[in-house]
């Protein structure tokens, strides 16, 4: 079945980047949380700048009853809003596949409680900056990785979505099993996001510095080491070494900084700066729960979890 109609749930940075680009190849509708944002998107279209430059006409609404049927639903809310988003999907889209893109682990299981759609797990390395309700700047045009979730969908379905995303001008890669990549990103995120949130540092080269004992890079390395132990205990062979991902991201950040761009601010630091609840329960929380399940001590991640939770309390 060709994918002709896509519904994107959540119009933050990532949701907007998918929705905007997909208008080139499919009929796109957007479900937002706020009616005001839906109205702005409907009136002036969705503007994408940066790596791509265009304004897309989209159908947007805050009322799920107004949504047309779709072949693919991309759930792109923050993990903290996933529960509400999944509730809005219940009883709809009988023939659609649902792709979850949340940070951390457990999004698929949560969506699963609201319907028996074929589920596609995804992680994305794209990033952008939200300028206003209807304008997102496309910053890093990196890949989205996707794969079937726990036998609910097939590798072929993931490959169709990969082809669709590529045709839309995005970068994507389908895997027969996403868990190795999902875990690589989980360990990367649990480390980089919490360290950034607590130090108020964007993802800069200090995260890879390991000259002195107390250099920040050693903490990053040790946190990733704990994460790798958990992955091994869970029987997951990582797709990429999170430390290598970190070193690479720091290097890329330095190149960007040399070109006059700002360093990447991890989303958890953005949340802390804005006084919003963070995704700590879905990221570090997921890792800590997996660790407990497999009897792996993770004292450093526990410390980071508690510090970020306390920071959220203000």
């Amino acid at each position: 079945v060709a994918i002709e109609r896509v519904c994107v749930v959540g119009a933050g940075v990532i949701g907007s980047l998918y929705a905007g680009h997909l208008t080139h190849v499919a009929e796109v509708s957007i479900l937002t949380r706020r009616g005001e944002q839906a109205r702005k998107l409907g009136e002036g279209g969705l503007r994408i700048s940066g790596k791509s430059e265009f304004t897309a006409e989209v159908f947007a609404t805050a009322d799920p009853d107004e949504l047309a049927d779709a072949d693919l639903v991309i759930v792109a809310t923050k993990a903290t809003q996933l529960e509400d988003a999944a509730g809005a999907l219940a009883g709809r889209f009988p023939t659609a596949a649902v792709m979850t893109i949340q940070n951390g682990l457990g999004a698929e299981e949560l969506v699963r409680t609201r319907g028996d759609w074929p589920l596609i797990s995804a992680v994305t390395f794209m990033s952008g900056v939200r300028h206003d309700d209807a304008h997102v700047e496309y910053e890093l045009d990196t890949e989205t990785w996707l794969g079937p979730f726990a036998g609910t969908a097939t590798h072929e379905q993931a490959q169709e979505i990969e082809a669709l995303l590529k045709a839309a001008g995005l970068h994507a890669r389908a895997f027969p099993d996403l868990r190795p990549a999902q875990w690589s990103k989980l360990i990367f995120n649990a480390t980089v996001n919490t360290v950034a949130a607590l130090t108020n540092l964007p993802h800069v080269s200090a995260f890879a510095a390991r000259k002195e004992d107390i250099d920040l890079g050693n903490l990053v390395h040790d946190l990733m080491g704990e994460g790798k132990t958990v992955a091994a205990a869970a029987g997951v062979e990582l797709h990429e070494d999170p430390w290598e991902m970190n070193v690479e991201a720091c290097r890329r950040g330095e190149t960007l900084a040399a070109e006059g761009h700002y360093a990447h601010v991890p989303s958890m630091l953005e949340d802390v700066r804005a006084g919003r609840p963070t995704e700590i329960d879905f990221i570090t929380g997921a890792l800590v729960r997996e660790a407990a399940k497999h009897d792996v001590p993770v004292p450093l991640h526990m410390a980071m979890y508690r510090l970020v939770k306390a920071r959220e309390c203000g």
């Binding site: 004992d213 250099d215 920040l216 903490l219 526990m302 508690r306 510090l307 309390c313």
Partner: protein, 298 residues
């Protein structure tokens, strides 16, 4: 007797002003802040709050102006110890550190031979040049610094003068137990508060309570490895200070430093636990993590 206070901020001023009320002690103070020095010389050094005192103190911003003194009290922020001692060491016989954390005496001993280890509880804040608020009264514990000790007679002379001046001070043959009790307490309270923006009392509650206790357990292990017997339980003090009628709402100094964008004393608290731990073969991963996070902060 002549005593000089090096670093006349809040804690240094508490010692200098109180000692300045004694007839038989000539008090000098060295501080680089010229307005403070001028105000002290013009009107005396004034304390208000927990006690109202005006002490006669000879203040100078020029280390060369310090006369020869039997005793010195170093009260600079820990990160300024080396610089201050290099400038003033020529004036001293014995020198006592009353600074926060561990590792200051080692730095003092690079400049003078007779060193006294000290831990002080009283606290205050500078209100204006020549005037310091005295917020908290409390005891001071001093003893010879083992690797480069001052004679016990010097320790006792200093304790006697301070106590008589209104700063109760105990001369001990081993002051490490008092010092490490405070280091362990402060390392947990200060670093967690600095990273989370919470008060001491909030740090003692979930979700950070267990972390604070784990951080203190590492500090205890490092103290044990050095053969130090703590004089009091840092955990009990932690809970005591967290009481609503004691210091629940107190913002630990490291949180104040972070909020004001100042350098912190992390190297002498959590960093010292890590460093002493390494020397004695005890790993302190949580204290290392807190040190890296606080030092990484901007």
């Amino acid at each position: 007797m002549r005593i000089a206070v090096i670093g006349c901020g809040a804690v240094g001023s508490l010692f200098a002003a109180n000692l300045g009320t004694l007839d038989d002690v000539e008090v000098w103070a060295y501080d680089p802040w010229q307005e403070h020095v001028d105000a002290i010389n013009a009107n005396g050094l004034r304390l208000s709050g927990a006690g109202d005192v005006v002490g006669k103190v000879n203040a100078t911003a020029d280390p060369a102006a310090l006369p020869k003194c039997e005793l010195g009290i170093v009260a600079t922020k820990s990160q300024h110890t080396s610089e201050a001692m290099a400038a003033t060491a020529h004036a001293f016989g014995a020198v006592c550190s009353v600074q926060n954390g561990a590792g200051n005496e080692e730095l003092v001993a690079e400049h003078v031979k007779e060193v006294i280890r000290g831990t002080t509880f009283p606290a205050g804040r500078v209100i204006e040049p020549g005037h310091v608020g005295w917020d908290t009264k409390g005891d001071t514990h001093i003893g010879p610094f083992e690797p480069s000790p001052a004679p016990m007679s010097a320790v006792e002379a200093l304790a006697e003068a301070c106590t008589r001046a209104g700063m109760p001070t105990h001369a001990l043959s081993d002051a490490r137990g008092a010092q490490w009790r405070k280091v362990i307490f402060n390392a947990a309270s200060n670093a967690i508060a600095a990273l989370t923006g919470r008060t001491h009392g909030q740090v003692a509650e979930p979700p950070t309570r267990e972390l604070a206790w784990a951080v203190m357990a590492e500090g205890r292990a490092v103290a044990d490895a050095q053969g130090i017997t703590l004089d009091m339980s840092p955990e009990e003090l932690f809970d005591h200070a967290a009481r609503k009628d004691v210091a629940y709402g107190h913002k630990p100094s490291m949180l104040q430093d972070v909020e004001a964008g100042r350098e912190t004393e992390i190297d002498f608290l959590n960093g010292a636990i890590v460093a002493f731990g390494e020397r004695y073969g005890v790993d302190a991963p949580l204290n290392r993590a807190l040190t890296a996070l606080v030092k990484g902060r901007r």
